[in-house]
């Protein structure tokens, strides 16, 4: 694992070989993951890698190359080949401006306790103690991983960027011998936040409540989506709608709707790396400072995520959300949904008739312009009647437009949690939504 000094030294060295304006990005990564299935550890792995990418600019031309072989000769060869490619590279539409400020952005804070608490023996021991609490009719599967990651950047205009992002994640599905299952998942960069036993017990309770599921016919239902399910919807909305690039190429459901009411007034979504509830990478993959984005404000479409190219095209400043690939554009990675006033428990208590969804499986975009998504329910689907869970329900498939669903949100929970996003975690509440369309079922 490279530290700041070592990372900067590699970046400075490769930049010293460059004859053009160059941005260098170094990612140093270590991951230890313990996977269990059928109540035993079946895959236990560790990997480490350091990858350096350079992007060399010559006017409107740009050439990009990466390697994980970091000796002197290999770095010289990397620069030679990348500069060589510039010769026959066609000009792009824009000359990418040099990143000159701020001189340095760093986030060196990380929780060193993560390593001592969740190293190889620590993970195995925690999994073992959890699994020992299961009745014979249930088995547990899941994954427990410790990630250590460094992002470092620099260019030959003198700027430096460094961020250390360490985190731990745990997920488990507990399955009854007849098939019903329950699930829990959490990821955090704070060791004190990770309560594996609590998560395991939550999944176990869900599995017990999932026994003897009944079949429901496809149709329109009121649903209560727990945070994992909400997070999945939010990630896919972001994927196909929250970037300026997706609006520019005409596939976003927010295209042409800036300033308009697109969701209900109880929906506010923003992107903020400074909020302690997501993983903070304070700069983007183009070296720009990441800004807070007010994406949906009380249902009104406000701001989009820009990378530098989309910003140049529209004559605005980048918001610092570039992924470093022009074909992708900007992408928000610290999504947060504003909470409401009631606890999830109270929302359930006040509900006469609804389906409670733990999480979705294999979500995909059917029509990005309509934000029409489909997915299956998984690992805990329940009927809520007269304020309590009455029985389990067999899994169903939804096909629904988020432009419909997020205009029919009747409750937003007060409590929020970190759920997995496409990069790191999002921080979201549970939602109660009317008229949610389940279009298929699995017997």
């Amino acid at each position: 694992m490279l530290n700041k000094k070592e990372s900067y030294a590699i970046i400075d060295k490769v930049l010293s070989y460059c004859n053009y304006y160059t941005m260098a990005t170094l990612i140093s990564h270590e991951e230890g993951l313990t996977r269990f299935a059928n109540s035993e550890i079946h895959q236990n792995v560790f990997k480490s890698n350091n990858t350096l990418e350079i992007t060399i600019h010559d006017g409107k031309k740009q050439s990009k190359n990466s390697t994980n072989i970091l000796d002197d000769e290999s770095l010289k060869e990397l620069v030679r080949k990348t500069e060589q490619n510039l010769r026959f590279m066609p000009e792009g539409e824009y000359e990418i401006p040099k990143v000159t400020a701020p001189a340095e952005i760093t986030n060196e804070e990380y929780d060193a306790e993560l390593e001592s608490a969740f190293g190889i023996p620590g993970r195995a021991s925690l999994i073992k103690s959890c699994i020992e609490s299961l009745d014979d009719d249930y088995t547990a599967s899941g994954a427990f991983s410790l990630n250590k990651m460094v992002f470092a950047m620099g260019n030959n205009s003198g700027i430096k960027r460094f961020c250390r992002l360490d985190n731990v994640s745990f997920n488990t599905v507990i399955t009854h011998k007849n098939g019903p299952s329950g699930y829990a998942e959490y990821a955090t960069d704070k060791s004190a936040d990770m309560d594996v036993t609590k998560l395991f017990n939550s999944a176990y309770s869900k599995a017990k409540a999932a026994l003897n599921p009944e079949s429901l016919e496809p149709g329109s239902y009121t649903v209560i989506l727990e945070p994992l399910a909400v997070g999945d919807l939010l990630s896919y909305m972001s994927y196909c709608g929250f970037s300026a690039k997706s609006v520019d190429i005409g596939i976003s459901f927010l295209a042409g709707k800036k300033g308009q009411q697109v969701f209900g007034e109880n929906i506010s979504i923003y992107d903020d790396h400074t909020d302690g509830n997501t993983f903070s990478l304070p700069f983007d993959f183009e070296g720009y400072e990441r800004r807070k984005l007010n994406i949906i404000d009380q249902g009104v479409a406000k701001e989009l995520a820009y990378d530098v190219r989309t910003a140049l095209k529209e004559g605005v400043d980048t918001t610092g959300h570039g992924l470093g690939e022009a074909s992708t554009g900007g992408f928000p990675i610290n999504l947060i949904m504003k909470n409401g006033a009631k606890s999830l428990e109270d929302i359930i208590k006040e509900t006469d008739n609804a389906i409670l969804v733990t999480r979705f499986h294999y979500m995909n975009v059917v029509d990005p312009k309509k934000a029409l998504f489909t997915a299956l329910t998984r690992d805990g689907l329940y009927m809520v009647k007269n304020g309590q869970i009455s029985h389990a329900v067999k899994n169903m498939r939804f096909t629904e437009s988020m432009l419909n669903a997020f205009n029919k949100v009747t409750e937003v929970s007060k409590d929020r949690t970190k759920v997995p996003g496409f990069f790191g975690v999002s921080y979201v509440p549970a939602l109660k939504i009317d008229d949610f369309h389940f279009t298929g079922k699995t017997e």
């Binding site: 792995v45 990997k47 480490s48 890698n49 096909t399």
Partner: protein, 482 residues
């Protein structure tokens, strides 16, 4: 290097492990993307590293690093991880027997793609984009090419030593038309980056991107004004490219034996099949459905010399005339059902453990001409090119959408097209409704370079061959669910 490899294997033997292997992999990749007749991204990359796998007292440990100068530390870490795994072990890992080999393999290619200049590659994509723009009024055009060369050394404590050089080439184009309320796309030769093969640059040339560009451009333009595909139950013919994904999701993943044993339970899911289902005369589909896992087929994106267990590439019948016959297996999963591995254990690069991955899962051709398949339909659609996919964690309940539906009435294509066709089904019922598969003339092999599975996430490159096939009384659309 061979001396260093032998030192690693000797250390594994010395610690009392019953098995160990080492894979050193060096991968170079070139990716070119054009957009609206400009170059969007050109990315070259190289990744080299080593992965060491140890089975100690029936428990697996794996460690990987890019630092080839530090093999001693990596092997010790793999041993330490295997020791930790013993803390929670119910069943020891047992590997099925295999042939010990010392061999070399290289993908047969005609033109090394890395000898073709970027300029030539870019020009081909730009000419294809130009041809699309000249044929129709489009909002957006894109083109892409990806090339890969992977050098692999595999050695194990049983005495196998295998050197492989695998090449991949692929390309595709897309035409997009937007209106204020809609966006329609047509892709060639397939969506999600086109078609890919273990082949040289000759494969890209054979795709004839420029020649096919006008057709998809015109279809995209027509789609924006086309009617929404109606909902209901219809007879369908599904084209080869959509069949590739249908096979992938509802047969390929469902017959992976590690998934059937629950290895993926918490993430990608399991399967509706059980370990013993292959002994139960299980009817997976109709008599027209014969499916093989074939890692030996030329140009298949899932073709290779040896898998990452060091097992030779094979062709295995998974479904014979509708009846389930075999699963895709690795050495550790095959031993659980008393079989030898059929060679599907593959890792994503040097930094991941091998897991059961599809090779080329192919629906063998039938005897029908496309016209004959169409003639057998009174009221239905011919669906082409995948647009969206989703299937449940047991691989039963699937829903796909395609780019275009061609109307069939009274045994003929009417020329009318519909947009946004969606179809849905339950796996065995759907395959049971197949009553015709096109013949060899219509059979196409597609490469899928983005198959996700495993934790940490791994991406596999797999292949699927199929001709257009006919299915009866399939649920189309979701608009009728109120």
């Amino acid at each position: 290097m061979r001396k260093k490899i032998e030192m690693v294997l000797e250390r594994i033997r010395a610690c009392g492990a019953e098995y160990g292997d080492i894979r050193i992999i060096d991968t170079i990749k070139e990716s070119i993307t054009t957009e609206d007749q400009m170059v969007a991204d050109i990315i070259d990359s190289r990744s080299k590293g080593v992965g060491i796998r140890v089975i100690l007292d029936g428990s697996l440990g794996f460690a990987a690093t890019q630092d080839l100068s530090n093999l001693a530390e990596t092997v010790e870490r793999a041993i330490q991880i295997a020791q930790a795994g013993r803390m929670l072990q119910k069943e020891k890992i047992v590997l099925s027997a295999k042939e010990i080999v010392q061999d070399e393999y290289q993908t047969p290619i005609e033109i090394d793609p890395f000898t073709i200049s970027k300029e030539d590659k870019i020009n081909l994509l730009l000419r294809a984009e130009k041809a699309m723009r000249e044929a129709a009024k489009l909002s957006r055009t894109t083109g892409s090419m990806v090339f890969q060369r992977q050098d692999k050394i595999y050695a194990d404590t049983e005495g196998s030593y295998i050197v492989q050089r695998l090449y991949e080439s692929g390309a595709g184009i897309e035409a997009v038309v937007n209106s204020e309320t809609d966006s329609q796309i047509r892709s060639y030769p397939n969506s999600s980056g086109g078609n890919h093969a273990t082949a040289g640059y000759e494969f890209v040339e054979s795709l004839k991107l420029v020649e096919n560009a006008p057709r998809i451009a015109i279809e995209a333009e027509r789609l924006i004004n086309a009617e929404q595909c109606p909902s209901g139950h219809y007879d369908l013919i599904i084209d080869s490219s959509q069949m590739a994904l249908q096979i992938h999701e509802s047969i390929g993943h469902a017959t992976e034996l590690d998934r059937i044993f629950g290895s993926e339970a918490a993430y990608a899911g399991m399967s509706f099949l059980l370990p013993g289902t292959i002994n139960d005369n299980f009817k997976y589909g109709s008599e027209f459905v014969t499916v093989v896992a074939d890692a030996t087929i030329p140009k298949g994106l899932g073709s290779f010399g040896y898998d990452d267990d060091g097992v030779k590439a094979q062709k295995t019948v998974l479904i014979d005339k509708g009846m389930l016959k075999n699963y895709q297996t690795s050495r550790d999963t095959a031993s659980k059902i008393g079989q030898l591995s059929n060679g599907t254990n593959r890792a994503d690069g040097w930094s991941n453990i091998p897991i059961v991955r599809m090779t080329n899962i192919n629906l063998l051709p039938g005897s029908f001409e496309l016209d004959e398949l169409i003639k057998g339909i009174d009221d239905g659609f011919y669906l082409c090119t995948n647009k969206s996919w989703s299937i449940d964690d047991k691989r039963l309940n699937f829903q796909f959408s395609c780019e275009i539906a061609h109307e069939i009435k009274n045994g003929k294509l009417t020329g009318k097209i519909y947009k946004n066709p969606i179809y849905t089904g339950i796996t065995p019922k759907f395959w049971g409704s197949c009553d015709g598969v096109g013949n060899e003339k219509h059979w196409i092999l597609y490469g899928v370079p983005n198959c996700g599975k495993g934790q940490p996430g791994q991406v596999a490159h797999v292949g699927h061959g199929s001709a257009p096939a006919r299915f009866r009384n399939v649920k189309v659309g979701v608009e009728d669910v109120k």
